[in-house]
């Protein structure tokens, strides 16, 4: 009886979390333009989507920004984590504090403060400022995903590799990296997720009419959102879910082979 109650509760929570997503996906197949009324099943918006330059550009921007931000966050974050792991005392707490700063700082403050910085530096606002800002809030996830994996390493493993004749570079790439790789991927996935999900920071730092999907949705929201947006979001959602699934499966497989 209690088990059934627990299951029901979990189901209710998941229905709550997924309801808007299901509605979005459902209405991407709606023949009518209204977001409230169901007119019948159709692929009309998917067909029109590919002719819509603005939306396709916004989609391209969203994907490009997320990929670049996640790759840089994972790579630089991993290198930084190896450095942080060695630190002690005030230096370590200093670096950890600036690592948590973007996580704890409200989105809106990150957004406006970076906007001010970009304006003050006359940094080109648009694609460049979007990528820089997404790297900035993605980097901490790259670091904090790798740190626990480093803590799990046998501290002697690096020296053992050197004793066995590896150069430090070989020891890093052939011994340490494979062990912390799951953490690196977690960092990549988290930074990617944060980037795709972000609206607030992008909204403030963009300029020169450059828009990602979130910004396009916001600028459309007063006139009513074009159903093509539902279609493009559905496609992106499915693509990201498939990508995550494949990466997870490969990770699990490789971690099983490693054991």
């Amino acid at each position: 009886m209690r088990a059934i109650l627990k299951k029901c509760y979990l189901w209710l929570i998941f229905i709550f979390l997924y309801a808007p997503i299901l509605v979005l996906i459902l209405f991407s197949f709606n023949v009518s333009r209204s977001r409230g009324n169901w007119g019948g099943l159709s692929l009309r918006w998917y067909g029109e989507l590919f002719q819509d330059r603005a939306i396709m550009t916004a989609l391209g921007n969203t994907v490009l920004i997320a990929l670049v931000a996640a790759a840089v966050s994972a790579a630089v974050g991993t290198v930084a984590a190896v450095g942080i792991y060695r630190l002690k005392g005030w230096k370590k707490s200093f670096v950890m504090n600036i690592t948590y700063l973007p996580i704890l700082n409200p989105d809106i403050v990150i957004g406006i403060s970076m906007m001010i910085l970009f304006i003050a530096m006359s940094f080109p606002r648009g694609m460049a400022s979007l990528i820089v800002s997404h790297i900035t809030f993605g980097l901490p996830y790259g670091v904090i995903s790798v740190l626990p994996k480093l803590a799990q390493l046998d501290p002697q493993i690096f020296d053992a590799a050197l004793d066995l004749g590896a150069t430090p570079r070989e020891a890093y790439f052939k011994v340490i990296l494979p062990q912390i790789l799951p953490g690196v991927f977690t960092g990549f996935l988290l930074a990617f997720t944060m980037s795709v999900d972000d609206f607030v920071v992008s909204f403030f730092v963009t300029g020169n009419g450059v828009a990602n999907l979130a910004i396009s949705i916001y600028s459309m929201s007063r006139r009513g959102i074009n159903p093509k947006i539902n279609a493009v979001l559905t496609l992106l959602f499915i693509a990201v879910a498939a990508m995550m699934y494949l990466i997870q499966r490969r990770l699990r497989k490789s971690s099983r082979e490693a054991v």
Binding site: Y9, I13, F14, F16, L17, Y18, A19, P20, I21, V23, L24, F27, R35, G36, V76, V79, A80, V82, G83, R86, L87, V95, I98, T99, Y100, P102, I103, L104, N105, P106, V109, I110, I112, S113, I116, L117, V132, S133, I135, T136, L139, I144, S145, P148, L190, T193, M194, D197, D198, F199, F204, L213, I217, Y218, S221, L236, F237, V240, A241, Q248
Partner: protein
């Protein structure tokens, strides 16, 4: 083995793009706009005008209500997750992350189609002869948006703590004659407090600072401190006042984090 150069690119990047921007905000908050370096407290004085104080107070109230709602909804979820078989736990956790692959704004916007006067809920209510109820553009809708977006941030840290809890402690409590309710109140809950505090912080912070949720679901009638800041920067171009509000917002967050005494839950890496 001194290899600290590994850190330099990272530290330089983070200082340039997180610390320096905050210092710039502070600079704008204490100087006269277009007046060179002349210092002023006028921007902060404006924050304390009753009109703006009521906005700040409303933001804190709504954020508190959403935090409590997230706690009530999220704690049982964290318990169920922590007690489910290991194999399921991972997939269940993933199910909480998946919605984030649909952009935050898109998901929030979708609530409009659910809650509108001719939306889905009212269509169902219409079938049983009720309504239409006006569900949108009130405090309840804004709180719903906050709870919807931030409840995972309550679940994750509590789950992390509960999972590490030694089950023999609960068995011991029950062997010593405590009933399930008592062993929960006296053993499980106190031990899970670090997770609860971390969850409360993680939900309260984005709730008190949001501007998009109140804009969409509050229909622009629900001005919160986030909306006020956005207006100063993008509509009235009063950067000084906007910066003062941002600094106040950061102070509110520092205070609430101080109250939560910032246990080392972050060190444990939360979800990871």
């Amino acid at each position: 083995m001194k290899r600290n150069w590994l850190l330099y690119p990272y530290v330089v990047w983070m200082i340039l793009f997180t610390v320096v921007p905050i210092l710039l905000v502070f600079y704008y908050s204490v100087t006269v706009q277009g007046g060179g370096f002349s210092l002023t407290m006028a921007h902060y004085a404006r924050v304390f005008e009753p009109l703006y104080m009521s906005v700040i107070w409303r933001s804190i109230q709504l954020a508190l209500v959403s935090t409590i709602a997230c706690f009530i909804l999220g704690y049982p979820v964290a318990m169920i997750l922590a007690n489910s078989p290991d194999k399921q736990q991972f997939s269940l956790i993933v199910l909480f992350v998946v919605p984030m692959w649909m952009n935050f704004l898109a998901r929030t916007y979708a609530w409009l189609s659910i809650m509108e006067n001719n939306g889905i809920i009212n269509a169902f209510l219409g079938l049983i002869g009720v309504g239409p109820l006006s569900l949108l553009y009130n405090a309840g809708a804004v709180v719903l948006g906050m709870v919807y977006n931030y409840v995972p941030f309550m679940v994750f840290p509590i789950y992390t703590v509960l999972r590490k809890l030694d089950p023999s402690l609960i068995e011991a409590a029950e062997d010593l004659g405590a009933n399930p309710v008592r062993s929960f109140l006296k053993v499980t809950f106190p031990l899970s407090l670090p997770g609860v505090l971390s969850g409360v912080t993680m939900v309260f912070m984005p709730s008190v600072t949001t501007f998009a949720i109140s804009q969409l679901l509050g229909g622009g009638q629900f001005t919160l401190i986030g909306n006020l800041i956005e207006q100063q920067y993008l509509r009235t171009y009063d950067w000084g006042f906007g910066s003062a509000l941002s600094i106040i917002l950061m102070i509110i967050i520092l205070i609430s984090m101080g109250l939560m005494s910032r246990s080392n839950v972050y060190e444990e890496g939360g979800l990871i």
